[in-house]
Symmetry: C2
Subunit: 354 residues, 2 copies
Amino acid sequence: MKHNFGAGPCILPQEVFKEAAEAVINFNGLSILEVSHRHKDFVAVMEEAMDLVKKALGIPAGYSVAFIQGGATLGFTIAALNMQRTNCKAGYINTGTWASGAIKEAKKVGIDVIEIASSADRNFTYIPKDFKIPEDIDYLHYTSNNTIYGTQFKEVPKGKIPLVCDMSSDIFSKEINVADYDFIYAGAQKNLGPAGATLYIVKDEILDKSSATFLPTYLDLKQHIDKESMLNTPPVFSVYVSMLNLRYLLAKGGVLAQQKLNESKAALLYQEIDSNPSFQGAVAKEDRSLMNITFLLSDPKRSEQFDSMWKEAGIVGLPGHRSVGGYRASMYNALPIESVQILVDVMNEFNRIG
Amino acid sequence: MKHNFGAGPCILPQEVFKEAAEAVINFNGLSILEVSHRHKDFVAVMEEAMDLVKKALGIPAGYSVAFIQGGATLGFTIAALNMQRTNCKAGYINTGTWASGAIKEAKKVGIDVIEIASSADRNFTYIPKDFKIPEDIDYLHYTSNNTIYGTQFKEVPKGKIPLVCDMSSDIFSKEINVADYDFIYAGAQKNLGPAGATLYIVKDEILDKSSATFLPTYLDLKQHIDKESMLNTPPVFSVYVSMLNLRYLLAKGGVLAQQKLNESKAALLYQEIDSNPSFQGAVAKEDRSLMNITFLLSDPKRSEQFDSMWKEAGIVGLPGHRSVGGYRASMYNALPIESVQILVDVMNEFNRIG
C-alpha cells in the first residue's frame, strides 16, 4: 500500500482506476483506446463529462465548458489571446512559477502586462493583498493555488473588470462561485483526471471578442465550444477517466462534501506542523493551501533520517519542488485521510526519537 | 469479436490493450495514471518511447523527436511558425481536408501560401503530379496520406527546399527515408498510440531559426526538444501506450515487416473491389492508399442491405467520412488480415445474392 502525496499527475480514486482499466479492455465491445471520437458512445462520454463539470461546480446559464489539449502552459496563451481587447493591457498577480509563466506568455502575444501585485519579495511564501485593480485593463489574471509554494487565495480578487483564473491545482477541491469569473482554465491532472486534458469554463459573452491579430484555430476558444470539444480528435481516454472521476465525486456528495474532507485532512497535517518542534510551515499561515502543504525540517541535517522514515511507511511524492526544496504533501481529493494520519504518525515518531 | 475498420482513433494490438490495462492498475506499485511525469519510472518511459521512434524509423543523427499535445491541428500552426523564414512564403500541396486545414492555419499566422498543386478539381480523388516546386519558398508542405479520400503519395515530392510532412495516418505503416524531410508531424491515434499525443521529428538545424514575431512557448518546437518532451506535463498515458505499441512493432519485425503485411492486406481488398462488379474504387488506382481504402457501391440503392451484412459480420467503422460518403476500410497496422478476409467474404456474398 503506497500513500501518494505527489503534486500531479496524482492520486485518483481506486474505483476510477479499476473502471478505467476495464474500459481499456472492453468499452461496449471495443477498447476505449480504439473507439472513434465520433462514435455515439464516445460522444455520450464527452457530453456527460461536460455536464458533470457544470453540475459539480454549479455553473450558471451563460457559461460554456470545453476540454482542450496542451495543459495550462498552452492555456496561458489561450487565455491571453481570447481575453485581449483593444486596450491590449492586462493585470496579473504574480504568486510564483505558474503565475510568472502566465505573465511571460501574455507578453509573448503582445499584451502590455501590469503586474499589479507580487509576492516575489519573500520568495512567493504569501498571497499579496490590498492591491488596487486598475479599471483600464482588459482582464485580471491570477493563479488560485500555487502548487509549488503551497499558498492559496482565500478570497477572490474581484474588481470591476473581467476575471481570469488558472485553477489547475484546486478546481473541484472546494466550492467556487463561477459567476465571479469570466474565464477559468485548469489542467486535468490534479483533481479531475489523467494528464492530457485541460478544462476551460468561460462566460459565453467573452467569446468572439478578441482583438488579437493572430488567432490560430486551435487557440480560438469559440471554435472548441462551437464544436463541443470535438474541433479535432480530443484526448479520448483523459476525458473518459475525467468523466468517471466526476461521477465518483458527485456520488460521494459532490464538491462541498469533498471540501469538508479536504479541510479535515489539511487541519490534521497543519496541526502537526505547528505543534511538532521538528517541523515548521514554509508559508504565511493565513495563505496556506489546502492542496499542497509545504514544510521544512527545523534541523535540515536530519533530512536523511526523515526521508528514510516516510519512505519506510510507504509514502511517495513528498519532496518539495526542485526549485524550492523542503517537503510538500499534496493532498488532492482522492488522498485518503488515513494516508495523512500515516504521515502525521511518522512526523511524531521522528520528533520523539530526534 | 469485432473487426475495427475505424479511421482513428483506431485498433491497436490486443497485447498492447492488455498491458495498458494492467498499468492502469499497477505500474511499479502505483497506477500509471497517478505517476508523476518527473518520476524516474516515467522519465524512462518517455526516453524509451523517443528512442523506439528513432529505431523504428531509422532516424539518422541530427534529428530530434518530441511528443506534444494538440493533434495535427495544432501541428499545422507549429509547423508554419517554426519553419517560417524571412521570405514568409511557403508552398502547399492541397490533397483534401487536412491539407486544406494546414493551408488555412499557415495563412492565419501570416504566411504567404502558394498552393503549388491541388486535386480539388476532381474532389481530391487523386494525387497531383508534375508540379513545379518554386525555389523562393521557405518550405514545402504536404500530407502523405489522405485519410478521408483514401489517396497516398507514392513518391516524396522532394525539391531543393525544406520539406514538411503531415504523416498522421501513415507513419510507421511503411519505410520512409527521414533524411528526405526537415519536419515531420503526426497525430498518434492511427499507428502509434491513443489520441492525445502528437509526434514531431525534426532536423536539428531547422530549430531556432523562425522569423515569426509571434511564438508562444508551447508552439516553439525547440523548447519541447530542449526539455525532452517535458516542457510541461506530457500526456503520460498516451506516451506510455505509444511506447508499448512501438515495442510490439519492433518485436514483430519492425516497420518493413509491417509494410509487407499492410501491402498484403491492401492487395486482398483492392483485388476484391476491382473484381467484384457490385463495388468500385473511389480514387485513381495509382494513388490508392494502403491505409484507408475507399469504395462505393455500384448500385447505391443496395446500401441498406450491404450495411446490415457487414454489421452482422461484426465489422465496425466502415462508413466513409461524413464529407464524402461511400465506404472506407481503414486498415491500420494492428488490423489483422483475418478481418480483411471477413470483409472480402461479405462483399463476395453481397455480390452473389445481388
